[in-house]
């Protein structure tokens, strides 16, 4: 059972990294110490007024001296307010929440498939992995591409796919993944839009490979209390599926657990 807590965390850096993407660093010692790859934090963004919910973000990186970092994209009200917060301001953070990716065993080559801000979720995994592998980064176009250099610096091969071909392969990042599927000794990880995760799930149906995929669902409590964030997983009952809480039993699910109803 995971351990987590609420921590009053001071912002020590909050800056634009590219286009709509920002990086924010918090002094957040207790959560940083416990964090495992693939887990997330639930952030109470200050000054959101009438909007009540916390916002979930993957833990991008943690440092030994208690810094917890997030990479976030400004997509709506909360992330917009977040981008305006200043150094020194305090946010209440819950974490580390959810389950985590399993670290590749020695001899396993990790193949990380990530789309958009999904790339933030798998960085700590790559960092903690003893074997270097590949990162397949997908984005709409080259301006939406993030973290290439960071993954390269970890010693990972980075391959790129953009929808419009403005960088790397022109097409879906799952096309790139398809090339590697037959290779032995690989371990597939994925984080990105749910449609991408479901596409990977489909690709793997009927093969013996099992990916670890992180799914995005709107979250309310973030800790497993409200049942607001469920996804369908395979179950031995009359329907063939049941709901599991993506904040608690997830966000990382095994591809053979994920139930596809389309």
């Amino acid at each position: 059972m995971c351990q987590f807590q609420a921590e009053q965390s001071k912002i020590i850096n909050n800056c634009n990294i590219k286009g709509k993407y920002y990086r924010i660093d918090f002094m957040c010692e207790k959560i940083a110490e416990l964090a495992r790859p693939g887990q997330f934090v639930h952030v109470q963004i200050k000054n959101m007024g009438e909007r009540l919910f916390r916002r979930p973000f993957s833990i991008f990186d943690v440092s030994d001296d208690g810094v917890l970092s997030i990479i976030y994209k400004v997509v709506g009200y909360g992330t917009c307010v977040l981008s305006g917060l200043k150094n020194g301001e305090i946010c209440d953070i819950l974490g580390p929440l959810g389950n985590s990716y399993s670290i590749p065993e020695i001899g396993e080559t990790p193949i990380i498939t990530a789309g958009g801000y999904g790339a933030a979720s798998t960085y700590l995994l790559a960092k903690n992995s003893q074997t270097k592998g590949k990162v397949l980064l997908g984005a709409k176009n080259k301006d939406e591409l993030i973290l290439c250099d960071e993954y390269k610096r970890l010693g990972f091969d980075v391959e790129i796919a953009t929808d419009d071909g403005s960088c790397g392969y022109s097409g879906l990042v799952t096309d790139l993944l398809a090339y590697f599927l037959k290779e032995a000794g690989i371990k597939i990880y994925g984080c990105g839009p749910n449609s991408m995760m479901y596409a990977i799930t489909k690709m793997l149906k009927g093969t013996s490979k099992i990916a670890e995929l992180s799914l995005d669902e709107n979250m309310c409590c973030g800790v497993g209390a409200c049942f607001g964030c469920v996804i369908k997983v395979v179950a031995k009952n009359e329907k063939g599926w049941e709901y599991k809480r993506s904040c608690n039993e997830g966000p990382v699910f095994k591809s053979n657990e994920i139930y596809l109803d389309f």
Partner: protein, 305 residues
């Protein structure tokens, strides 16, 4: 230090702060933040005789100072609740005062759950949920029809020796009429309010933000409605009242006591700040001390007119 002991008829609590059903799971998650026995009581998510998958996603969305939910009462069913380690056995071990919220699709369903829970160790009371707006059968249909409401309560009453709380729906013209009816049928306490039916639309997709189309509105947005209904009900019946609806701060809780609530429940606020109930317990203490009250009872219904 003021005395927070709260007498709800036969049910005596160390303090008047509970967690509202459906907003606290089965206690396990929030037990990571503080010991559950610090709470007056834990009210667990609605339990039915059968296992229930609940509604499709999306189930929740934010609204102005509130939220909509249509979870659809997902729950493991009464047998799993009693036996599986993560449910009742966990709560028992944690030393929590447990109130079980029950529901069904028929009067028989309600009775079946009540019967199964009767005599089970570690349960302090039952809360009959006749007010969930998010299921097709049962729920709010019972809470908005005086005849059905009476039937459910009188039937459950016969199946249990536990104190019976009836949780009323706000979706009626005069909630105090329903309070009188269910008290007449043997309800030992009233809790209110459940969520109010609502809806929100995404103007880009043109879809409802909730797959179930409509959901239940909770949070500070509905607090004025809840306060008014507690006030009205406290003036109509003589049984203890558990007030809820948008309580986020100590001041909110005090408002409910002044309106006539004997105890309060914290719902949506748990999602925003898990420490809310604990902060409010100590906040109530400070308020009582600084305002010269020796106990919570002196505050209840003490509105200056």
């Amino acid at each position: 230090m003021a005395n927070l002991t709260t007498n709800l008829g036969k049910l005596v609590l160390t303090n008047p702060v509970m967690t509202a059903s459906g907003t606290f799971g089965y206690g396990e998650e929030y037990a990571k933040f503080y010991p559950l026995k610090q709470l007056g009581a834990v009210v667990v998510k609605g339990i039915s005789p059968f296992q229930c998958h609940g509604n499709p996603m999306p189930r929740i969305c934010e609204t102005s100072s509130g939220m909509l939910n249509a979870i659809g009462l997902q729950n493991p069913g009464v047998d799993n609740f009693i036996n599986k380690p993560e449910y009742l056995p966990f709560l028992r071990k944690a030393g929590a005062v447990v109130i079980v919220n029950i529901w069904g699709k028929s009067v028989e369903d309600y009775c079946a759950v009540a019967e199964k829970l009767d005599g089970v160790e570690g349960i302090a009371a039952l809360e009959i949920n006749i007010s969930c707006p998010n299921i097709k059968e049962g729920g709010i249909a019972f809470g908005t029809d005086p005849v059905l409401a009476a039937k459910v309560v009188s039937s459950v009453r016969k199946k249990t020796k536990l104190p019976v709380i009836t949780k009323l729906s706000p979706n009626v013209t005069k909630v105090s009429e329903f309070a009188k009816i269910v008290v007449g049928e043997g309800a030992d306490m009233i809790s209110l309010i459940n969520t109010y039916p609502g809806m929100a639309i995404d103007i880009e997709t043109r879809k409802s933000r909730i797959a179930n189309i409509t959901g239940g509105l909770s949070g500070p947005a509905i607090k004025p409605i809840a306060i008014k209904m507690v006030y009205e009900t406290a003036n109509a019946v003589d049984v203890p009242i558990i007030g809820m609806g948008g309580i986020f701060t100590t001041a909110d809780a005090i408002e409910f006591f002044l309106a006539g609530a004997d105890a309060v429940a914290i719902g949506t606020a748990n999602f925003i700040d898990p420490m809310t109930p604990i902060k409010i317990i100590s906040g109530i203490n400070e308020y009582l001390d600084s305002h010269g009250y020796s106990g919570i009872k002196e505050l209840v219904g003490n509105l200056a007119i």
